[in-house]
Amino acid sequence: MKNKKHAWIFGYSKQSRSIAASLLAENFSITIIENDDKNFQDALSDGYVNSVLIDITADTELEKLDIKQSDWILCLMEDEYLNVFLTLSLRASCTCNQIIAISHSIYSTQKLIMAGANQVIDVYQVSANRIHNIFEKPITTKLMDNFISPSHEFSFKEFTIPKNSFLDGAIIDEVDFDKFGIIFTGIVDKELGDELIFAASNINHKIDNGDIIICIGKNEDLVKFGKYLYKDIA
């Protein structure tokens, strides 16, 4: 049986419900952690039977949770102070885990980053960006809407380059992505680190296995490209 990815969701609010449901659909196993009895009961009644009710401000209780290094941690507490405190506590005990936090204000965003979150999603910043783009870049907005819509036609997709695939050892400029009807937009060159290098930066990289490339295109074309990339890999 394939190992499931595990996500620890701290806080069971209206927002975290939909995140939990989406992750469940993506074959994640989920544990909900709550410090409020009502929310805890809600989580249980929604079918998250392995939910846990603890005092999340107590480090001893957090340590008992047995969070593995490969697990995802989502800090989604509605109370901003508690969310920042929790992020800091978790970072102290789970140094290698990916921690993603939700923020509801610019001040919290900064504090969550300082507290050690790897990724902070600022609810209002995301919306403000979108409104800005509606005014300044209407076509971009349409395209972005397309990416996030459930019935999207276009997507961004990332591909990890497998060993011995046709891209392993290839020079970016020499690859004809047009043939697949997709646009190559960026690469994470593992030789250079984890930073994303955008296609237009004009540095002609050699692609190695383990690198990640990002392409944009129609879903069907991206699927075809994926199949072609992995075709000779058993």
């Binding site: 992750l23 939700i102 609810v123 919306s127 800005h132 996030i148 646009i183 990002i214």
Partner: protein, 508 residues
């Protein structure tokens, strides 16, 4: 018979599109503050008023020159005369009064009497003629008494909002000011008469009741020219009473005016802001001040062409302290949005408060006023989105949904998340921009291959053709660019800016 022709004529005017549009044009030109060409007419009239006054001042010491005399006596007066007649014409619709009166008589089955309608027409026009602005206009036309023409300067009142606002503030304290005025008249009258009775035959400077009243006014106002002074003990006692009472009255009048201004200060500020925003062709009204509005304004202040409307005065004063344009009002009220130039300007309304009910109400209010108003509304939940769409919102933002999508993307495709985040936030390394192909710029007629986006460190994502609603993703290299195509390109910000400058330099 005469009445029959009058009614026929009135219906003729009522049905005439040309008459209606001509009258509307002149109404807009003279009275509609939001009509662009009104500003030009205003400036022309202001120049005419000032030149006329300057000519009058100049002529006092230097005499009247022939052509200046003709300009002042005929040209200025004729222009002002035409203006007066046009204002009188657009003030009310005579034909509508006649039709209304005719329909009334038809309904009651009585004979239509023109004089009844005529009286109404006269009343309507008289209401205009007796208004202060119209009286000043009439004086400005009159060429008979030359010195009276200096009063033309008062025509400027029509174009000076500050004076208009001052008068409006005074109007709110009409009762208090009238009471003080009556007291003042009483004081001047009684002290003047008393002085005339006491010193009319003794004081050589008081030769008539007018001299005594003049003295009373000068004394009460504490001006004291000294040309008339009391010479008896009783006269001096009356002077002392007049001075002290005058001082008290002045203090009262000042406090009444100051308090009126304090009460109206915010309203005056708000009206000024509305006036200034209404001068713009395109502006944004933000309803609901919170985290989202703050972040949006940090990112995009719409070239300062925006106004926040907040009904809570405490929050409004905090917004003003934060340095944003704000007015205190309840935007869900129908008349608040109508204060803005929704007829001629490109208006967008952002309903981004955290109350769905209020946001939907504002959306409906805006859309009921004009379908052309673009509404971008915030919904608290995806289930509310449908209601906003039904209410007519052009875009619906669901913050939690968007944040969730970003969060899930960051877990499922972390690198894609970085790309999307960079693009959405407009990061310099991955700048996504839309470039419109303009007439006469260097892009028209070129194929995508010729432009060599790659060597310019740019990625062409797609093209929106003017005649196609569809977006052409990754267009073939042979695609020829045409006027009004919109290119969606991605690249470092510096490359995008260089590209725009090199191809559209002539238009910058």
């Amino acid at each position: 018979m005469f009445s029959k022709y009058i009614v026929k004529f009135a219906f003729g005017l009522y049905n005439s599109k040309r008459y209606t549009s001509t009258k509307k044009f002149f109404y807009d030109l003279l009275e509609n503050e939001n009509y662009h060409y009104k500003k030009i007419v205003d400036i022309f009239l202001i120049i005419l008023i000032l030149s006329s006054v300057i000519e009058l001042i100049y002529s006092i010491k230097h005499g009247v020159h022939g052509w200046l005399y003709i300009f002042d006596l005929y040209i200025v007066s004729i222009v002002f005369g035409i203006e007066y007649m046009l204002r009188l014409w657009v003030h009310s619709d005579m034909h509508k009064i006649i039709i209304k009166e005719y329909e009334r008589s038809q309904f009651l089955k009585i004979q239509f009497k023109f004089y009844a309608a005529f009286i109404q027409i006269l009343t309507e026009k008289w209401n205009y003629i007796k208004s202060p602005a119209a009286i000043i206009d009439l004086i400005a036309i009159s060429p008979t008494y030359r010195e009276l023409r200096i009063l033309r300067i008062f025509k400027l009142l029509r174009y000076t909002t500050s004076i208009g606002q001052f008068i409006n503030v005074l109007k709110t304290k009409r009762f208090e000011l009238m009471t003080l005025l009556i007291l003042l008249i009483f004081l001047i009258g009684t002290t003047g008469v008393a002085m005339y009775a006491l010193e009319g035959n003794i004081n050589k400077n008081i030769n008539s009741i007018f001299d005594a009243v003049y003295w009373a006014l000068i004394t009460t106002a504490t001006v004291g020219y000294g040309d008339i002074a009391p010479v008896t003990t009783m006269g001096r006692i009356i002077s002392m009473i007049a001075i002290i009472t005058g001082l008290v009255l002045m203090a009262f009048a000042t406090s009444v005016i100051v308090s009126a201004f304090l009460e109206k200060l915010n309203e005056i500020k708000d009206n000024r802001l509305i006036d200034s925003i209404n001068k713009e062709d395109r502006f944004v009204i933000i309803c609901g001040y919170g985290q989202m509005a703050k972040m949006l304004l940090r990112q995009n202040n719409f070239d300062n062409k925006y106004v926040i409307i907040e009904k809570d005065s405490n929050i409004a004063s905090q917004i003003a302290k934060d340095g944003f344009n704000v007015i205190t009002d309840d935007v869900s009220r129908h008349d608040v949005i109508t204060k803005f130039n929704i007829q001629y300007a490109n208006v967008s309304i952002l309903c981004i408060g955290n109350d769905d009910v209020e946001n939907i109400y504002i959306t409906l209010t805006a859309k009921s006023l004009s379908k052309d108003i673009r509404v971008i509304a915030r919904a608290s939940d995806i289930s509310m989105k449908k209601k906003f769409v039904l209410a007519g919102a052009d875009h619906v933002i669901v913050p939690n949904q968007m944040a969730n999508i970003m969060l899930l993307t960051s877990i499922k495709q972390p690198v894609v998340y970085n790309v999307m985040h960079a693009l959405l936030a407009g990061k310099h390394a991955a700048y996504l921009d839309e470039i419109k192909v303009l007439a006469y710029d260097g892009l028209i007629g070129k194929s995508i291959q010729e432009i060599e986006f790659k060597t310019k460190k740019l990625l062409l994502i797609g093209i929106q053709k003017e005649d196609h609603n569809d977006f052409i993703f990754n267009p073939p290299a042979s695609t020829i660019l045409e006027q009004n195509d919109i290119l969606l390109i991605m690249g470092p910000k510096i490359s995008v800016e260089h590209f725009i400058n090199s191809f559209q330099r002539s238009l910058k």
